[in-house]
Point group: C2
Chain length 237, copies 2
DNA sequence: ACCTGAACACCGTTCAAGT
DNA sequence: ACCTGAACACCGTTCAAGT
């Protein structure tokens, strides 16, 4: 039996760990992830993970970042100013429609973001605690801010728009109606809560509420921002 | 030494436990709460807590509910229909202003809610995972829904409004800008994130961003909902 | 009824040792 | 360089025992 050559293939890699951790989070939730369980799923012993990540939390951050990375940002590429110098406007048959550019981009982005979160609801609490140092999270914040200033929003407004969209989108995932109310009719005593007769509806119905609320809220948000945008552009009304 | 009489005073009570747990959460965060640490702060041994709560999680739920309980709901009492039967309208010198009732109530409530969360940011993740069976959380959802239907919103809309306000308010606390970005300038490489030059601003400045974003978002949301309300009331435009 | 210490089955993380 | 077992200082929770 000869001594094994040095470059034997590592059993683990950051990518493999993130993938397994993500699968575990999706399947069993955040609390189910322990270093020992995760390591077992990868066929190694617990401490091995520390050769690739400094802490368990760093692994969860990486899982969260992988979710952020799947959010489409391409709609922000072509966002230009409402009117005036048309060289920023996207080529295409929109005509004066370039006016609504930032609004449409925000709408499309919000949906892409929400879809990404809906695919991996269990990791959302980690995502929600902020971009911190996660590259994809920062890229996302950067893209929104850049597109809004490009569209003619003053920087201070662009910052606020980025933040308030974050509130709404992450809030819709973390404070979901479908996940927040229990399925048990007895929990909602009609004497204590006279208007909550519908709260215990079936899970399917509750998911519809979330979809409708997201759609309604997003439309209201964008309508309201459009009003502010117009007020900024034409100060004399 | 005579045998001690039975009704000696209990060392613990649910209220004392909730108070101590809340203080610990506020001071050191959610992860700092262990049954042993909490018990020590109360001068008892760990297992004693289980005489008053079934699990550690039930204690945290009670802490969260205590925060919900401080949210003012009184503004929903006097909300009436926009026009028509004036017996629902609040007494007062508003004149036709009763029209905006639900909007003003929502605005005041959102601020009260946000203030309560801002006082205890560390418990927000527990609150955000839903009212579940927490009485104050349910009362809150009940009040919003009741007031919105009272104001003339169709039930399906009222449900959505309750949900989307939840998203925004809890999102503003859980996905806070101030808490989500690190204080370290080096984290935001201008090559990778060309628009993020301001992200590392001082904590104080970041809190202002959150305040502004909440205000801007809330106004946009209510403006947008007002548009929808008018469209519902006067279908022919 | 309410509190205790001991115990169980877990944790995250460190570290010396192996290849 | 990368993986291991042993060890440390913790966890949440149960339970028999005490008053």
């Amino acid at each position: 039996m000869w001594r094994m050559a040095r470059p034997r293939k590592p059993l683990l890699s950051r990518d493999r760990i993130v993938e397994a951790a993500g699968a575990l989070v999706d399947a069993e939730g955040l609390e189910a992830v322990s270093t020992r369980r995760l390591a077992a799923a990868l066929g190694v012993s617990g401490p091995s993970l520390y050769n690739h990540f400094r802490t368990k939390d760093a692994i969860l951050e990486a899982v969260a970042d992988a979710v952020s990375a799947r959010v489409d940002l391409s709609m922000f590429d072509a966002v230009g100013v409402a009117d005036g110098d048309g060289d920023e406007a996207p080529r295409g048959d929109r005509g004066g429609g370039a006016r609504r550019d930032w609004r449409e981009a925000l709408h499309a982005w919000a949906h892409s973001y929400r879809d990404a979160l809906a695919d991996h609801p269990n990791i959302v609490p980690v995502l929600a605690r902020g971009p911190g140092r996660r590259p994809a999270g920062l890229r996302l914040a950067d893209a929104v801010f850049g597109a809004m200033t490009e569209a003619g929003w003053p920087p201070a407004h662009a910052t606020r728009i980025g933040a308030l969209m974050r509130y709404f989108i992450l809030g819709s995932a973390v404070a979901s109606f479908a996940r927040g109310f229990v399925d048990d009719e007895a929990a909602y005593d009609p004497v204590d809560y006279p208007h909550l007769g519908q709260a215990h509806l079936l899970a399917e119905r509750r998911r519809e509420v979330d979809k409708g609320a997201f759609e309604t809220g997003l439309k209201a948000l964008l309508d309201g921002l459009s009003l502010q945008y117009e007020a900024l552009r034409e100060p004399r009304a």
